[in-house]
Symmetry: C2
Subunit: 307 residues, 2 copies
């Protein structure tokens, strides 16, 4: 293979109760990236569109991953990279994870598919570290494995792919404001009560059971976050309004995507998803804040080859 | 139906990572109870064997449940009850839960099966409150539903029955010492770090995913409790030795049953379970502490009708 074009999906991490543990991939929003083999070794970014990102190969999440993989695999070729960002960095939808995960996936294709999804996740985590300072796994693993994922453990890294009920739909709204990851981390409590932790892990258990059992009512009941959402929502204007609007329109649940500001809702079926989309759109128009929205299936496959 | 004889199983609550949320029923250990319809209304305990428990119908967990149910159902008959305890109160194996759950199950049979398992769990929780002061649901729901259960929520009460991988076996040792429930509660931390909570809920998620996916390796990796076990094990002599012995002999994991002192191990298949049983038995002989042991399947059905 000499040339590859891929789609690298946006991802929703945390998923209400599953802070730092759960994530899922989205179908309609993501980056497009191309990989061209070169006889000259090393990596070069030839074009970036859709966002203002660095061309410095050691500082760009995508090229840093490509470079690391080519070196580790002792490749006798190089890669020229183009990146078209389909959604904004800082949205809470795993922008750097799409770039880093896409880079890992695409490079592996040109290398002849020598790495497992777990190994690709580790490479992509290096990209997250380059971009954000922390090698977080939830977004990159969701982008690479597709569907719902559980980061069961970091040491050793263990990613569990969970089933995706067929009628599950995502509606998301991205208010055009900035939530700094540092601020989103700073509001987190260092300690929580054991009582609240029990409530939260019972919900994590319920959500996972609901995904396996195709039980939408259980998924709905379990999409509750009593620990992180109450403190982070203060950084997101009109969060409660959006959530209540979504629930009133029939959503199974709604919460903060990653560290925000994007708010996601999960819905059963296209019809309810469209209702939820329209209701949120209608209500957010009055806030005076610009926003983007999308509606999507949960993407069961993650990365896609486009050529 | 005029007469009923039932088996009410012992249960293991918490199951390592799932403090106050998870439980499962055991197959070979439990109580036998009989229920005889009487024309005279009300409840009477005519015989208790196997343990020294009160005959006061308002203070005994079983009769208190029978009485409450007969009143709520406006029954035109009474019940005479016998209880044969097959395992000791204070073992950490849900002794009062077996009595209370068995009472709810048996009474419901004589009432013509008018209550759901969820309603029976609520009645049995009243029995737990009578016996222990707290209407805890994990043991009683495991005894009534059978198999593995998740207490997803208390308010409203929601119990999720989880699948049981076919080869799952339990080995348990009950050192003949007393661990007071109050002491077991007093050593619990009020607060825990968010970091530890995340580790724990990722394990809860992993254990539940493992049960659904028949993934014994994932079950094994997830049977980790970094919050409750480290403080409670100090109340249980030789806990670490037993656990290490079990793991060395091939157990998937081991932990404290309920609030102890019983220690349980989960194993894949009869052969490994027998190895684990023998190894623990051999090693505990040297401690000078009396003990009882059993080996069992996970009981997928809970209560059993014996006549």
């Amino acid at each position: 293979m000499e040339y590859l074009k891929i789609f690298a999906p946006a991802t929703v991490a945390n998923v209400s109760c599953g802070f730092d543990s759960l994530g899922f991939a989205v179908d309609t929003i993501g980056d497009e990236m191309t990989f061209t083999k070169t006889t000259e070794k090393g990596v070069k970014i030839t074009n970036i569109t859709g966002a203002n990102l660095t061309y410095d190969v050691d500082k760009n999440a995508a090229s840093a991953v490509v470079k690391k993989m080519l070196i580790e695999a002792k490749a006798d070729f190089g890669i020229e990279l183009t990146i078209h960002k389909g959604f904004s960095p800082g949205s809470g939808l795993g922008s750097s994870a799409a770039s880093a995960g896409g880079a890992a996936f695409g490079t592996n294709q040109l290398l002849g598919n020598i790495y497992s999804e777990l190994e690709l996740t580790k490479f992509a985590m290096f990209g997250e570290e380059v971009a954000c300072g922390t090698p977080i796994a939830d977004n990159v693993s969701a982008a690479i494995y597709g569907g719902f994922v559980l980061v069961r453990s970091y040491n050793p890294l263990e990613i569990i792919k969970l089933p995706v009920p067929k009628e599950l739909r995502v509606v998301a709204i991205h208010p055009q404001i900035e939530v700094k990851t540092k601020d989103a981390r700073d509001v987190l409590p260092t300690e929580i009560t054991l009582k609240d932790a029990v409530t939260q892990w019972a919900n994590v258990g319920g959500l996972i059971a609901g995904l396996y059992a195709d039980n939408y009512e259980l998924i709905s009941n379990s999409l509750v976050d009593i620990i992180v959402e109450p403190v982070r929502k203060t950084l997101i204007p009109h969060f409660d309004d959006v959530k209540n609007t979504a629930l009133k329109a029939g959503a199974l649940g709604a919460g903060i995507s990653g560290s925000g500001p994007t708010i996601f809702a999960l819905c059963k079926g296209d019809k309810i998803a469209e209702e939820v989309y329209k209701s949120i759109q209608e209500s957010y128009k009055n806030t005076g804040i610009d926003f983007e929205m999308f509606i999507s299936k949960v993407n069961p496959n993650g990365m896609k080859i486009l050529n």
